[in-house]
Symmetry: C2
Subunit: 541 residues, 2 copies
């Protein structure tokens, strides 16, 4: 593999990320009665218990014949590093040292042809294949489940890491699936372009992984979700290869591109992605505003989105999240000191913080900001300065690092998200918050923000913090997640706006697309993957 790796039990490389801010101990005490001392340390590497390897010698040899012996690894560390993703449940499992879903081997093909050959070999031998890009799934998408198969390999796409080509005239670029987002932007940036896709997992996520899971960057309001930026793709499946034409639009029947996008490795492996790119922004401006309430903030965001003058980044925190920012000012992504000082100065505890950002030519920013600022002021929004916005931007990949510190201190911390129409947004916000608080039945904080705007609606992103039930932490979270998911489904939201289905949402997909919808997806899967080896237990149960 050879490239940078995250620690097996948490986010980022060992020692990376911001330290826990001093304010937090006091916050944890007052919010949950949690002391703030480290009460829980992750298992050491030596203590991790792995399942027995079950991959047959014959198939292992055949796979090695395709990719080369050096690229089939089944040492302890490699298996541990590919056993799971980065959800709260994954972290609990990793930290406890019980990794039930480690692959038998990790296979790193060096070309699309090798991917194709490995899939065919595994299909013939009944070995499950779990594609692995950045490994940042928070829905159980990369856990190496074997399903009914005789063995399971993780197909690590790390060696397929090139920006293949750039078509400047058409503003499209072709990528290998395993190229990480910062590397994609670095290569494009040398020619003046950027992918412009910035999920919180930016530092680790891969282009192929983002497309396979319908990722949505923090600037999706301005730059589009990744699925909106896909021009064409190529996919290896056990039944052969399928690819779509690189054309801007087509009326040639149902969209296969949209069938493979979001397929989460259950149909095959995306081996080449052609995406729209954009010139590197000449300038940027991020700033903070305070709205009087979440409802008032949602109103003005709806207005901005429908008037075509939404900022590229727009993130409205509800009262609870704004209060958390107040308490945790100085912390990673929650750092918004200036806005917070302003709030404090005004005694405006009930206000809601709005971060807005533009990335454009200076003139464009000036013009677009002026339009938006007029609407924000008309909605009684108070400008709280650029420092607030820049602080958010500087810390925008920080939350997952903070999470590790909180887990050390016995705090449950997880996120979930949905999307709905504007007319249903406040109801959904209320019902999901209520469901989470009721189910947790302990001192907890349920914070929420809107961060992806569309003409017809927006996403809602919830962060849950509670005192961890240290005896039954998994059950504690599953109960809360189930309640939230039921509330989302009952209120007509989608079970996921950008985290994907994976394992954790698979039981809710039938509620979203219906029995026939599931049967249609199954029919496609049976065609592409007749032996059912592709990422078993994900997407379709």
């Amino acid at each position: 593999m050879g490239r940078r790796e995250q620690k097996f039990w948490g986010w980022g490389e060992p020692g990376a990320g911001p330290p826990l801010p001093e304010e937090v101990a006091g916050f944890l005490r007052s919010a949950f009665g949690v002391g703030g001392d480290v009460v829980n340390r992750p298992a050491s590497l030596e203590d991790v218990i792995l399942p027995t390897r079950e991959l047959g010698h014959g198939v292992r040899r055949r796979i090695a014949g395709i990719v080369g012996e050096a690229h089939v690894r089944d040492d302890r560390l490699t298996r541990i590093l590919r056993a799971a993703g980065k959800s709260y449940l994954d972290l609990l499992s990793q930290r406890s040292g019980r990794l039930e879903t480690a692959p038998d081997a990790v296979v790193a093909p060096g070309s699309a042809q090798e991917v194709q050959a490995v899939l065919e070999a595994c299909s013939a031998d009944g070995v499950a294949v779990v594609p692995f890009g950045g490994g940042t799934s928070v829905v159980g998408g990369v856990a190496a489940r074997r399903g009914a198969a005789d063995g399971v390999i993780t197909l690590d796409l790390a060696r397929l890491d090139r920006v293949v080509s750039l078509d400047e005239r058409s503003r499209t670029a072709c990528f290998d699936p395993g190229v990480r987002l910062p590397e994609a932007d670095r290569v494009l940036g040398a020619r003046g372009y950027a992918l412009g896709h910035h999920p919180q997992s930016y530092e680790w996520a891969t282009v192929g992984g983002c497309v396979a899971t319908r990722s949505s960057g923090q600037a999706s309001t301005g730059f589009g979700r990744i699925d909106e930026n896909v021009v064409a793709l190529r996919c290896a499946t056990p039944a052969g290869e399928v690819s779509t034409l690189p054309v801007p639009a087509s009326a040639a029947g149902p969209s296969l591109r949209e069938l493979l996008t979001g397929s989460e490795g259950t149909l095959g492996v995306l081996t080449e992605l052609t995406l729209e790119v954009r010139p590197v922004s000449e300038a940027r401006r991020y700033e903070g505003w305070v709205l009087e309430s979440f409802a008032a903030g949602a109103d003005v965001l709806c207005d901005l989105a429908q008037s075509g003058i939404a900022p590229d980044v727009a993130r409205l925190s509800d009262e609870t999240e704004t209060g958390m920012s107040l308490a945790l000012a100085g912390t990673g992504s929650l750092k918004a000191r200036s806005g917070v000082s302003f709030l404090r100065a005004r005694g405006a505890r009930e206000g809601c913080l709005l971060i807005v950002g533009w990335e454009d030519a200076p003139q464009g920013i000036g013009r677009r900001r002026a339009s938006a600022a007029r609407r924000l002021r008309a909605a009684r929004g108070r400008y709280v300065g650029r420092a607030t916005g820049e602080a958010w931007r500087a810390g925008r990949y920080g939350a997952p690092y903070l999470r590790d510190h909180l887990l050390d201190r016995g705090v449950l911390v997880e996120t979930l998200e949905t999307a709905t129409t504007w007319s249903n947004l406040e109801r959904l916000h209320r019902l999901v918050g209520h469901a989470l608080r009721s189910a947790l039945d302990t001192r907890c904080l349920v914070a929420c923000h809107v961060s992806h705007l569309y003409a017809s609606g927006a996403s809602l992103y919830f962060t849950v913090l509670a005192r961890q039930d240290t005896s039954e932490p998994v059950t504690q979270w599953l109960r809360a997640k189930e309640a939230a998911s039921r509330a989302i489904m009952d209120a007509g939201g989608t079970i996921t706006h950008h985290h994907a289905i994976g394992r954790d949402h698979a039981s809710y997909l039938p509620g979203e697309v219906g029995t026939l919808g599931i049967d249609m997806l199954r029919a496609v899967k049976a065609q592409c993957d007749p032996m059912g080896i592709m990422n078993p237990g994900k997407l379709l149960l």
Copy 2:
């Protein structure tokens, strides 16, 4: 059915549409040596030969039991009116009075439940079902082919003609499938909204038909293709109903919405569509420019699209189409008298006419027009005034009426279209033009315009005019169409940007999506339509 009907052999109601302008006789003579007299009249109703009805009495009774006897019609006129669409080949067949694809009966359900029940009855009895919306297909999409079935009915959606609801806050509206576009806009307009979808078939096309075929309105550059505006849909299939959630975006796996959009009645019948709507434009401005060449025009359109300042409507004619406008000034959609006078005055025969239009608030138009005009002037574009643009707008639904006049006079006239990336646009333009001219092997005009802009590329829309081979008119066109389609596929264009696949493009779909792509679509069809009754012979051969 009870609503307005087009004449069975041509476009629009009898007598509707503009007369043939006087200039045309001279144009036809000089262009093709065609005299300009009427040499070919359509068959009279009495002379039309229909296939024998084959629908069994039992199934007819069962269907009548569902929709009511009054809504199962198999009289001559009804069958004739539902036998085909509006392509050149359809018109040849209709005008000759040989309608080989008339349905055995035309069934008009009154609700989504009745649609569902009819599909189940037909599936049980092995009767083919051809959904019929506006009947404006130009790719053979509504011809009542029975395939392997024992009979064939046309499912006329005319009674499902309501705007069901409008969600003003979310700017979405829910439609019955059979509501025609002008009626949709009339109902929405009373509340200040519009669908904003204006294909050339606007007067007749239905909302469901547009979604089922991935239609693209003339203002798609500003308002989006219809597939970009679909928020949710509901579809009846022989295997049951499937529906998607009305949410602005989702990461819940492959998109079923995008699988049903463009399915052309081969999976089922769209019974409810939720689309984005927009406020009625406060103002509009259409105007003409002349660019020095097609290449220069494409360059500036690419620039406008990629800079986010494209007009809502942008239509660049190549040299041939501009010359045709010159010759036919005064004619239907080609009326562009002012621009033409300007061209004549300047002696600029080599110029290319560009129509641009904005529909927005006056302030928005002013600002957006100023940005675009700066780029157009920088590209050495010459402004030729609003009259040119307004004339185009006034005549923009006129071409199909003109076509009937041309057929009367022994002229072959047909259109075809594609889309590709900006970097491939001029090559595709050149190759398709060459293929058509070579294949026709007679005096002909191959005109082209770009009319739908995207960041990564654009569409190309070709109009072909030639002296008709009156002994073998079908073969004459099939040869030309085959040559153009091969050129499109060879050059990497899509076989259709907005006309859909239907019958006429079905043999090219495997070239576009590959064998596995076809197998994936077939697998979905087998799931939804196990007896293969849905629109046989369309989309998938």
